[in-house]
Amino acid sequence: MSTVIEQIEQQIAQLSNKAVKKNTGHILTVADGVAKLDGLSDVMYNEMVQFPGGAIGIALNLEEDEVGCVILGDVSNLKEGDEVQTTGKLLSVPVGKALLGRVVDALGRPVDGKGPIDSKEFYPVEKIAPGIIVRKSVSQPLFTGIMAIDSMIPIGRGQRELIIGDRGTGKTTICIDTIINQGRINKVGLASGDKNFRPVYSIYVAIGQKQSNIVRTISALEAAGALEFTVIVAAPAADNPANQYIAPYSGASIGEWFMENGMDALIVYDDLSKHAVAYRQISLILKRPSGREAYPGDVFYLHSRLLERAARLDGKGSLTALPIVETLAGDVSAYIPTNIISITDGQIFLETDLFNQGIRPAVSVGLSVSRVGSSAQIKATKQVGGKLKGELAQFRELAAFAQFGSDLDAKTKAQLDRGSRIVELFKQPQLNPIAIELQVSVLWALQKEYFSSVEVKQVVGAAASLRDYLATRKDALLTKIRTKAALDAALDAELKTACDEWKGTFAAK
C-alpha cells in the first residue's frame, strides 16, 4: 500500500518541478506612490510587478538589496510586509484602430464609460526608437490648418515640432485645431475614394491637466467631428505621478502601431513640462541624485527617448510629434525648454505680448523655425507665401523703428502698410482650421494686392468673406488647387476671375 502512495508522491514532486516559477518579494515601505521592496532577485528594469489587490508597479530602481518601484493604481490598501511578485512582462498597452474615438488612462484602460475596448494587439510602453537605417527624411506635409504655420513654419509627417510659450498663450488651441484639421482632411479624402490618400490619425496625451480642461478638449473634438479619428490618453493632475510619467510613452506606443502598420499618425504631448515635474517627484521620492532645478540627471533622456520615437519609416508610415512646453515669462533658456528645443526639429514660439495685442494665434514668426518642414511644403504654398516670413520680419523691424521717427518716406510707409495687412490676415479664431486650398487662395489674393485697398481693420473680415465666397461657389477650383498642389497659368487665371468676382460683391456691401 505504502509504495502506491510513494508513487503518487513522486508524481506530485515531479509536478512541482514543472510548476510555474514566480519571483517574489515583500513591501518594505510605501509612500507617495513609490514602494521599496526586498527580495525580487530576478526582477528586470521596467518590469511590471504585481501588488496585492490588483495594483501594478514598475521597477525603476534596482539596488543591491532593494527594489524601488512606482505604483500605478490604488495604493491605499498596501502595507508593509505584503507579498509582491514579478510578472516577467514589460508594461504594455492595447493598440489598434479599436482605440479611435476613445478616452483611455495611462495603461490603456477605457475611462469614458463606453464599454471595453476590443483590441487584440499589445505594444510595450517603452520601446527602442527606430534606428538610422529604417528612417526616411520628411517629405509629406501635415497641414495644421493654421495659416501662419502652414505658410511660414510648415510641418512634415514624421517631424517633431515643439509648441512653446507661456501659460495661456494658446498652445493647446493650436494642437486641437491641428487635430480637427486632420479630421476634416480625413473625411474629404476618404470620401473622394482616392487610393493614394493617407489619413492622419491623432493621439492627444493630456498630462497633469485639470479634468475640466480635458473634458473641454474632448467635447471640442467631438463637436468638430474629429474624435472618431482620435485617441485620447488622459493622466489628469489628480492622477498619481507614476501615471503621469507613463502616459506619454503609452501614447507613443499607440501611435507607433499606426506607423508600423503603414499609416500616418500625429501625437500631441500636452505638456512635457508637467511630465518632467511628475518625473522629478518620483525621482526625489526614489532618492535619486538631483541636479539642475532639482530635476534628476536623466531628465534629458526622459524626453529624448520619447521624442525619438516619432519618425517616418521607410516603406511604412509615420508618427509626427507636437510636444508642448510651458515657459515662465518667455524664458526659453530654462532647463526643460532648452533640452526639448535641442531634441526637436524646430519650434513654434507663442508670445504673451502678441496674444494680448489680439494677434491670435500668437505665433512669433521671428523666433519660430521648422528645420525640415519646408521640404514637405506643397509647391502652391511656396509660390504664394515664400517671401512672407522675410517680409514680416522686416515689418517688425520697421515698426519698432517707426515708433521713434515721425516722418517716414513713402516706401517705408508702404512697407508698413503691407506688413500690418499681413499680420491681420494671419489672425484666425480658434477651432477654425482653414483648408490648405483656401489658404493658398487667400495668400494668392494678398500677393496680387487684392487687400491693398481694404482698410487694415477690415482685412480679417475681407479674408473671411473671400474664403466664404470661394468655399460656397468655387468648389471645382478649390479641388483643383488641392489635387494639383501647384499653381500654373490656368489656375492663376481662374483665381483671378474668382477674386475679381468676389471683389465686386465685397465692395458692393
Binding site: 510513494e6 508522491e9 513522486q10 509536478l15 514543472k18 510548476a19 519571483n23 526586498d38 532577485s41 511578485q85
Partner: protein, 130 residues
C-alpha cells in the same frame, strides 16, 4: 528606522564576516552578535535589523520551504531537496509545512523564488487572466 550610510556599510561587513565558505555559520553569527552587544555601535537597532534582513535572506536561499495540502512523504522531501540543490548550485535543505488553503499540490519557496503547482495557484492565475 532605516539606518544611514555608515550603518548600512557596517551591517554589510558584519554580514560578510558571518559567512564561511559562502554559507551562514552559526558560530560566526554568535560572534558578531557578541561584538555588537559589547561595542554598542551607533544606531544599534537599525544595524541589527539590517543584519537580520541580510542573514534571513541568505538563509532562505539554502532552505526549501515546502507548503503542502494533504500528506507528504520523506521521499518527496528528498526529491525536492536534490532538485533544488542542483538548480541553485548550493546545498538546499527542505522542510515541510502544512497549508490547507492550497487545496491540493505543492508550493516550494527558495529565497525569493516560488514554485507553485497548487490548485489555489491555478485558480488565482485563472482569475487574473479573466
Amino acid at each position: 528606522m532605516r539606518g544611514d550610510k555608515k550603518t548600512k556599510l557596517l551591517a554589510k561587513q558584519l554580514f560578510k564576516l558571518s559567512l564561511v565558505n559562502g554559507e551562514v555559520s552559526a558560530a560566526q553569527v554568535a560572534g558578531v552578535l557578541g561584538y555588537i552587544e559589547k561595542i554598542q555601535p551607533r544606531q544599534t537597532l537599525a544595524l541589527l535589523k539590517l543584519y537580520h534582513r541580510a542573514i534571513a535572506a541568505e538563509v532562505a536561499k539554502s532552505r526549501a520551504l515546502i507548503e503542502h495540502a494533504g500528506p507528504i512523504g520523506d521521499s518527496a522531501l528528498k526529491l525536492v531537496e536534490s532538485a533544488m540543490t542542483q538548480k541553485y548550485h548550493r546545498a538546499v535543505t527542505a522542510s515541510a509545512q502544512r497549508n490547507d488553503a492550497l487545496f491540493a499540490g505543492l508550493r516550494v519557496r527558495v529565497g525569493s523564488d516560488v514554485y507553485e503547482s497548487t490548485v489555489a495557484g491555478q485558480l488565482a492565475a485563472l482569475a487574473a487572466s479573466l
